[in-house]
Amino acid sequence: MVVELFLDLRSQPCRALFIFAKKNNIPFEFKDVELLKGHHLSEEFGKVNVLKKVPAPLIHCLSPQHLTSACYVPCSDIAILLYLSRKFNTPDHWYPSDLQKRARVDEYLSWQHTTIREKGCKIFITKVLVPLVVGQPFSPEKLEEAVEELNSALKQFEEKFLQDKPFIVGNEISLADLVAIVELMQPVGCGCDIFENRPKLVEWRSRVEEAVGKELFQQAHEIILNVKNMSTTQLPPELREHVKQFLKP
């Protein structure tokens, strides 16, 4: 039975899932969801996603055949990644069977929700999404604030999680690195190069890219790296209202 993955590659969690599934040759049907075109409000998606209310850009889900009902709430990407790694018996380094190494992956995946993910998202929302919805240029003060917050998180990332290791959990790439890299590419896509002046992070990023495979990495990030094109997209009014709900000041 083929897994259906509903993904919008503008979303970081979606990219992590995309890369992970492709890299591990997990057979899946790619259901392209474009949040900003309101695909998630469609009939087909409605059957999968009962709530239909998912804050952009956090959408991803696994089809009902594989779970008794789909995982569609924000942050369920972690659960889906773990599920796929178990179901398809992916190589151990992604989610090690050694309990202490595994705990390190879990520790990162938990910590990153309110730090790297939240702050990275904030930059994307401030610089790209809000202007798109309200039709005004982004606020430089708000952007600066968001960047500062991410800087603080990046410091902890380098000092506590990465330290002097090649990857977060040791010598090989794991789900922690994958989830981290897609989050950090989000601000890059908006023109905030958070890798600048951070040689340690740059080196880590190269290692991750290589471990994933340059081609696959580029493929997953093609859309977000061209996100400037989004700013000229015309949002239909009903969708604009819908997205506005989730954009808190």
Partner: protein, 241 residues
């Protein structure tokens, strides 16, 4: 040497770890932490070494140290092979626990955490009279009921799991913030679920874990010294920014 758990039972993640370890007879040394006092004085070197993030809860198992309650809980459950229902081997059920634990962190935990520190900060300026900030919890609570609990006895099925434990200990935190405010007042389904969780944990253990927050008549009594309040202010402002 055995496991050391660095806990402050004022903190909901600490309570879930404490209850889990006790319920499953996992031998551990309780290392008392005092989060509020430490905010002012700075942390002792010992704890700094255990947990660079300087957060509670933290686990130390020989040379291995771990933070983040979901990671600690799943580590303990797997290392000590606790009964299956806590973190089921069945892939789909386990995925549901994982899903809840992730979601909880960014929603309910995040709101309660902010509200708690807002209250502590606002004690410096004005007394807490409104429960406006608690409204932030309305939507997540609705999702908790409609998406996660639905018509099941527990979040993941017929038996208590790590998901229920983490959820309930967090909701108990509201007792500390808003004395006498019953956050589940209009949600009978959640009230019944909460009672089931307490029963499954064991009333005595549940009460014991929550003794610290249930005995807090007023958060203000914790911060009687004006100097303490002044010292905490800058850090608090940063935390709730």
């Amino acid at each position: 040497m055995g496991i050391e758990l660095y806990l402050d039972l004022l903190s909901s993640p600490c309570r879930s770890v404490y209850i889990f370890a006790k319920k499953n007879n996992i031998p551990f040394t309780f290392k008392q932490m005092e989060v509020l006092k430490d905010l002012v004085k700075g942390h002792s070197d010992g704890f700094g070494k255990v947990n660079i993030l300087r957060k509670v809860p933290a686990l130390k198992d020989g040379g291995f140290t771990l933070a983040e309650s979901p990671a600690i809980l799943t580590y303990l459950s797997q290392t000590y092979k606790t009964p299956d229902h806590w973190y089921p081997l069945d892939m789909k059920k386990r995925a549901r626990v994982d899903e809840y634990l992730s979601w909880h962190h960014s929603t309910i935990r995040s709101s309660v955490f902010k509200i708690f520190w807002l209250k502590v900060r606002d004690l410096n300026i004005q007394s807490w009279t409104s429960y406006e900030a608690l409204e932030d919890l309305t939507i997540p609570l609705k999702q908790l009921e409609e998406k996660f609990l639905q018509d099941k006895p527990f979040l993941v099925g017929n038996m208590i799991s790590l998901a229920d434990l983490v959820a309930v200990t967090e909701l108990m935190q509201v007792r500390l913030i808003a004395i006498g405010y019953n956050i589940l007042e209009d949600m009978p389904k959640l009230v019944e679920w909460r009672n089931r969780v307490e029963k499954a944990v064991g009333k005595e253990l549940f009460q014991e874990a929550h003794k610290v927050i249930l005995n807090f008549q007023d958060l203000n009594s914790m911060l009687t010294e004006p100097q303490l309040k002044e010292q905490m202010k800058p850090r608090l402002l940063k935390m709730v920014a």
